[in-house]
């Protein structure tokens, strides 16, 4: 039951991302997903988690819900650009994208070559939707911070997908993945600051001078 609620919240947070045109809301939603991803592994194991798993969840919470969103918020506030114009007044387009990608995720998860037992199939559908939402943010949004959020979302999706395995990821590996994501976001935040200073803009289209 708790697992279903967490998955539903993850889906809802993704859907909200399609319709919001405010970057700070996006960051809060990604932070909320961080909380869900810290909680999901503890619920998904089906028994009382050991202390290493609890420690890992605490670390995930710290990094994904507090540290990375705080870094992103600072970068966005510093640039002074708080909106995402590619969303404004495009509600029909966004609804279509959300419905199509959600449908695709459910279809993909239920048509795997080797069907997974419940609840792994639901976890996988949610994970696909998160990943595809991230991919959609990367390719469709016009602000650079949105692309960075898209990358975080994609990684959230893959981490969620890994919960559908009957075997847990080793703690060392999870730590490594978390560290990679944290460093990736840190480097992106530094670059966003430089892009803002250099181009006086954080629009993706400004970064299109290099070509053959």
């Amino acid at each position: 039951m708790v697992l279903q609620v967490l998955l539903a919240l993850l889906v809802l947070s993704n859907i909200w991302l399609y319709f919001s045109s405010r970057l700070r809301i996006h960051i809060r939603l990604v932070a909320f997903q961080g909380f869900l991803l810290a909680a999901l592994p503890l619920i998904a194991v089906g028994h009382f988690p050991d202390e290493r798993r609890i420690g890992l969840a605490a670390l995930t919470l710290l990094v994904k819900t507090f540290l990375l969103p705080a870094l992103m918020t600072r970068a966005v506030l510093r640039s002074g650009v708080l909106d995402e114009p590619s969303v404004s007044r495009k509600h029909i387009q966004m609804s279509l994208a959300a419905v199509l990608l959600l449908g695709l995720s459910v279809w993909l998860a239920s048509h795997l070559p080797a069907p997974l037992p419940a609840p792994a199939d639901r976890i996988l559908a949610t994970a696909f939707f998160t990943l595809l939402t991230g991919l959609y943010l990367c390719v469709s949004r016009s602000r650079i911070p949105s692309q960075a959020l898209g990358v975080i979302l994609m990684e959230n999706g893959v981490v969620a997908a890994s919960l559908s395995r009957s075997q847990e990821m080793p703690v060392l590996v999870e730590l490594g993945v978390l560290l990679d994501v944290a460093v990736a976001v840190f480097v992106m935040v530094v670059l966003i600051r430089h892009v803002d200073a250099e181009f006086r803009s954080v629009d993706v289209e400004r970064l299109s001078e290099l070509r053959d």
Binding site: L112, A114, M154, V183, V190, L191, D212
Partner: protein
């Protein structure tokens, strides 16, 4: 020993970062490179003990790729001394320290990737190579460098995200078959019992993900930008070492797909991607006006040939592995020489560089030699490897692939020669290049010439004669990749 190989660059990076003595930075990088090469050399004599239950260890494939990285890194580290000595940003103590520390971290991540025998760990290592190298591309703080860095980081992160999904699918298939983890040994054992269609799905995501990082077309779009905007020693490492390390991700999964019955499917995808890369490179090298982008497209071509060789299998697998090694050395060499040309002529435009041979005889000659080595003219090892790939294609009855392959490499040769020859042999412009009056001596120094020259010598030797242990390692590595069927 393996732990030392990983820890020495990291400790040195921390030391360089904190030391505050700019004069020591480059010598530390070089000392670490020498030590790294010495350790790697010793692994040819004695197999090192594995770490972490065999998750980190050295097999023939790892030894092959690790050696390529180590040799290239040694040349690059020596070149960096000359490069930073004449670079304006290299004068700033903080920038220099940052550059050297990141270069050392990059080496550590590349080393880890070569040593990984566990799929999730390999993913972590390959993503880490992206993160360590991205700030290096932005070293010169130009708009274009910033754009290239952003594209590199976002596209590779997206790609590598898909590779992680592929890894998860591999994990699902593995846990259903054997209940074990994603260690290479356990997977190899369980592969015949794994669900073939699930492994094929995993392969698709892995090849798209790691293929993005390896610069396979059509996922290569970040590569020409990043390789042309990065400082030359970084371009050398990005092209020569980091592309190969992504190829390693594909090389590791190939025998598993084979064993689970998906061999023809996986090999078909690799042949298609290989040909697409080769033909994309052919289109973009002809008439290319930027010589660093030209080198970048030549990398796309080389990666295409590697994918093609892996896809064809049989004798072409050895060709693919030899090509990866040759690519490492030759592209490292050419990117280092391109740095000398850039600092002499102060332009990356092919049309504005003329008479390099007369103005800078050493760099000019290396540029010319590099053209023939990179395009696979004898005695380059790339000649041998391309011949093996061709033979593999003909032996397996794929005549159309062989024709497309020959057409692709011929067009790339024409494209590269029509740019390289006038650059080296043309009449030097009477008007000096603009923007060079900063009082710096831009003549070729030994630090700038000996490293690429040494790589050229190594290439010629390898092309003419493959020493016994090297040939044996190549054979063993190919046998691992083909799952013992090669």
């Amino acid at each position: 020993m393996i732990a030392a190989l990983l820890l020495v660059p990291l400790v040195a990076a921390a030391l360089v970062w904190r030391l505050g003595r700019p004069g020591w930075n480059c010598p530390i990088v070089l000392a670490v490179a020498v030590l790294h090469a010495a350790f790697t050399g010793s692994f040819w004599v004695d197999d090192p003990a594995p770490l972490l239950d065999g998750w980190i260890g050295l097999d023939a494939v790892g030894r092959w790729f690790l050696t390529a990285t180590s040799v290239l890194n040694l040349a690059t580290a020596a070149y960096t001394i000359g490069y930073l000595g004449r670079d304006r940003r290299g004068d700033e103590p903080r920038s220099r320290a940052r550059f050297c520390a990141l270069q050392l971290t990059f080496l550590a991540t590349l080393t880890l990737a070569a040593l990984c025998r566990h799929f999730e760990l390999l993913w972590i290592a390959i993503e880490a190579t992206t993160l360590a190298s991205a700030p290096l591309i932005y070293f010169h703080r130009s708009r274009h460098a910033l754009e290239a860095t952003w594209k590199y980081l976002v596209l590779c992160s997206v790609g590598i995200g898909l590779a992680l999904l592929g890894t998860v699918f591999l994990g699902i298939a593995a846990s259903a078959a054997q209940g074990g983890g994603l260690g290479l040994d356990a997977l190899t054992e369980a592969a015949p019992d794994m669900d073939g269609s699930l492994v094929r799905l995993a392969f698709v995501f892995l090849v798209v993900g790691y293929g993005t990082k390896a610069g396979l077309a059509p996922m290569h779009t970040w590569l020409p930008d990043a390789h042309s905007e990065a400082p030359s020693p970084v371009s050398a490492l990005l092209s020569g070492a980091s592309l190969n390390c992504a190829v390693l991700g594909i090389v590791r999964v190939l025998p598993l797909v084979d064993a689970s019955g998906g061999g023809p499917f996986a090999r078909g995808i690799l042949v298609a991607l290989g040909l697409a890369s080769l033909l994309t490179a052919a289109v973009f090298t002809v008439g290319q006006r930027d010589y660093k982008r030209l080198l970048a497209y030549s990398s796309v071509e080389h990666m295409g040939i590697v994918a093609l060789g892996l896809g064809i299998g049989g004798v072409a697998t050895q060709g693919a592995l030899l090509h990866a090694l040759g690519h490492s050395l030759v592209k490292g060499m050419l990117f280092l020489v391109s740095g000398n040309l850039l600092s002499t002529f102060h332009t990356k435009k092919v049309d504005e560089v003329r008479g390099a041979l007369r103005r800078r005889p050493a760099s000019g000659s290396l540029w010319l030699v590099g053209l023939f080595l990179a395009t696979g003219a004898p005695p380059s090892p790339l000649f041998v490897s391309e011949l093996a790939v061709l033979k593999g294609a003909i032996d397996s009855g794929q005549a159309a692939v062989a024709v497309a392959f020959l057409a692709g490499i011929s067009i790339v040769f024409v494209g590269m020669a029509s740019a390289f020859l006038p650059m080296a042999l043309g009449e030097p412009s009477s008007r000096g290049p603009a923007g060079l009056d900063d009082g710096r001596d831009r003549r070729d120094t030994p630090w700038l010439v000996v490293p690429p020259a040494a790589l050229a010598v190594a290439l010629v030797v390898l092309g003419a004669w493959l020493p016994g242990p090297v040939a044996r390692c190549l054979e063993m590595a190919a046998r691992i990749v083909t799952g013992g069927n090669g």
